[in-house]
């Protein structure tokens, strides 16, 4: 069918830069290009992938992605349940949650640094209130091992996006289903458990994958708020790409291939979840 063929052609055009980028990264990773005398082969890939720093950086980036996505989802669900009406309070709450949408990730991270840093606003207020004696007593929230700063900044930024999706889900068929369940005698708790939660979960699940993969690759958030040990995968990639030791620069291509593979797996999962919603929607 021509419609199918045209749609696929469009997809190919859009994915082409990724394919070209992937191909170049693969050529660099195997030292076919830019190897500086290194014979082409799998030696570099083997060496880089056996570095503990690479896997720790990958695991760390995944940790902050999963933690911030989970917190953002919890916040979005709670807020969409608490402020789901049409009163002034409800509308004000939803309007307030639009503010973080306007912040670029870079600015959210910069504010994170200004608020959570060792001599940031939080430390100053705590000192002013006499809770801590000086900034040395402030617990490390930025560049810390667990990524508290990164997680807070990403949660702050992503929760409103998930809230928008929840609102769209509930204002569609959701409201009707809830009312039908209530008319049939379901308790509030039963409606939440059997109707609202399944609806939200199904509606949110592809967005959760998208948010997690954005968080995983959020270079600007990590460069300002993440620790240098372990060095998160996006930072490690950028660092190797401009390494003063020229022979190590191609390492970045191995790491780029690794990130792209993780990103593409996320695309596959996302599409599966999304098409499940679409199929249900058409029935």
């Amino acid at each position: 069918m021509t419609h199918s063929r045209r749609a696929l052609a469009v997809g190919v055009v859009l994915v082409l830069p990724v394919v070209v980028g992937f191909a170049y990264a693969l050529l660099g990773a195997t030292d076919v290009i830019g190897g500086l005398g290194q014979p082409p082969g799998l030696a570099r890939i083997q060496r880089v992938l056996s570095e503990a720093a690479v896997w720790r950086g990958t695991a760390w980036a995944m940790w902050v992605a999963v933690a911030s996505t989970t917190l953002a989802a919890l916040l979005a669900v709670v807020l969409s349940l608490v402020y789901d009406g049409t009163s002034r309070t409800d509308r004000l709450a939803r309007a307030l949650m639009n503010v973080p949408l306007a912040f670029p990730h870079l600015v959210a991270a910069a504010v994170g640094l200004l608020v959570l840093g060792q001599s940031g606003m939080l430390a100053r207020i705590l000192m002013f209130a006499g809770v801590i004696a000086d900034s040395a007593h402030m617990p490390e929230l930025v560049s810390d091992r667990f990524g508290v700063g990164v997680i807070v900044a990403l949660t702050w930024k992503e929760a409103p996006f998930l809230l928008l999706i929840n609102a769209a889900v509930l204002s569609g068929h959701g409201r009707g289903y809830q009312e039908v369940a209530r008319t049939h005698g379901a308790s509030r708790w039963q409606v939440l458990q059997r109707v609202t939660w399944p609806l939200l979960w199904r509606g949110m699940s592809p967005a959760l994958v998208a948010v997690a993969v954005f968080a995983f690759g959020s270079y600007e958030t990590m460069v300002l708020l993440a620790p240098s040990n372990p060095l998160a995968l996006p930072l490690l990639t950028a660092e190797r790409y401009v390494d003063p030791a020229l022979a190590r620069r191609n390492d970045a291509f191995v790491l780029a291939v690794l990130s792209m593979v993780i990103g593409l797996i996320a695309v596959a999962v996302y599409e599966r979840l999304r098409s499940r919603i679409e199929d249900v929607g058409h029935v």
Partner: protein, 274 residues
């Protein structure tokens, strides 16, 4: 729509909790903006001071000064984001429409391929693309950064238009054609007026994707293309918090306007994209 929403009247303690939570929410969302505004109007505001002692307008004055690098960065960003919005929209509108006309697995695959440039970590995408852009002499130039910004924006907008066209009945166009309208007339009199709101939203979205972009600009521009986000990034790393704050506010304002605009458009038309 929402008029039929019914709540069992909340108890007094429930209402108190909702109001208390609202205050926390206001602090959580507005405090960062307030901090940036105060910071952009202060001088030498260091720890442990919780409030600035010297106020100044000099950080804003820098934006009107003729030979200011921050102003130049602002203008570069405006040009880049505007061109990205126009070009990405021009590509994505027909693309989204074509995908919307297909069914089954080709539709799913096309949508997945459109999502790929959005989902792949930008630093990885930039590393891979840098080589090809170097080859054609675009790395380190405005044009190269523009191409790099259009790639994720076009993917995102294609998905957006796929959503918009899925709710759009193409039979209206066929009917107009059977009644004798030319292709051009169908576009002018039917397609464009119906899609005016989604097109406006799409332009705003693509503008913002470019407007907030950091890693692609940094790597493809190689430090030679200085946009406003790059200026803010450099300022914050150099410890020039006030300059970072005024730049940040400039980055936020268009997005706030766009979000307000998109909400108005949604309310007016009832069309919700992606």
């Amino acid at each position: 729509m929402s008029e039929h929403r019914r709540r069992t009247s909340p108890s007094a303690s429930g209402r108190l909790l909702r109001n208390a939570l609202l205050i926390v929410l206001a602090l959580w969302t507005l405090a960062p903006l307030l901090l940036l505004i105060v910071l952009s109007l202060s001088r030498n505001w260091y720890a442990p001071a919780v409030w600035p002692s010297v106020w100044t307008g000099e950080h804003w004055g820098r934006l009107v000064a003729a030979a200011s690098s921050q102003r130049e960065a602002l203008l570069t960003s405006v040009a880049l984001a505007t061109l990205t919005a126009l070009l990405a929209c021009l590509l994505a509108l027909p693309f989204g429409r074509l995908i919307a006309q297909s069914r089954g697995w080709p539709r799913r695959w096309a949508a997945a391929m459109a999502f790929a440039p959005v989902a792949v970590p930008p630093i990885a995408l930039a590393t891979g693309m840098h080589f090809s852009l170097l080859k054609i002499g675009l790395a380190g130039h405005f044009g190269g950064v523009l191409v790099a910004h259009i790639i994720p924006a076009a993917g995102y907008l294609t998905l957006f238009f796929l959503g918009a066209f899925s709710a759009y009945d193409l039979r209206i166009e066929e009917e107009a054609r059977t009644l004798g309208a030319t292709r051009g007339a169908v576009w002018r009199r039917i397609t464009l007026p119906i899609l005016r709101a989604p097109i406006g939203d799409a332009l705003a979205l693509a503008f913002l994707i470019s407007w907030a972009q950091v890693p692609l600009t940094l790597l493809i521009g190689g430090g030679l293309v200085r946009t406003l986000p790059i200026d803010v990034f450099a300022a914050i790393r150099a410890g020039d918090d006030a300059r970072a704050a005024s730049g940040s506010i400039l980055l936020i304002v268009p997005a706030l306007l766009a979000i307000a605009g998109v909400r108005v458009a949604v309310r007016r038309t009832g069309v919700v994209g992606l």
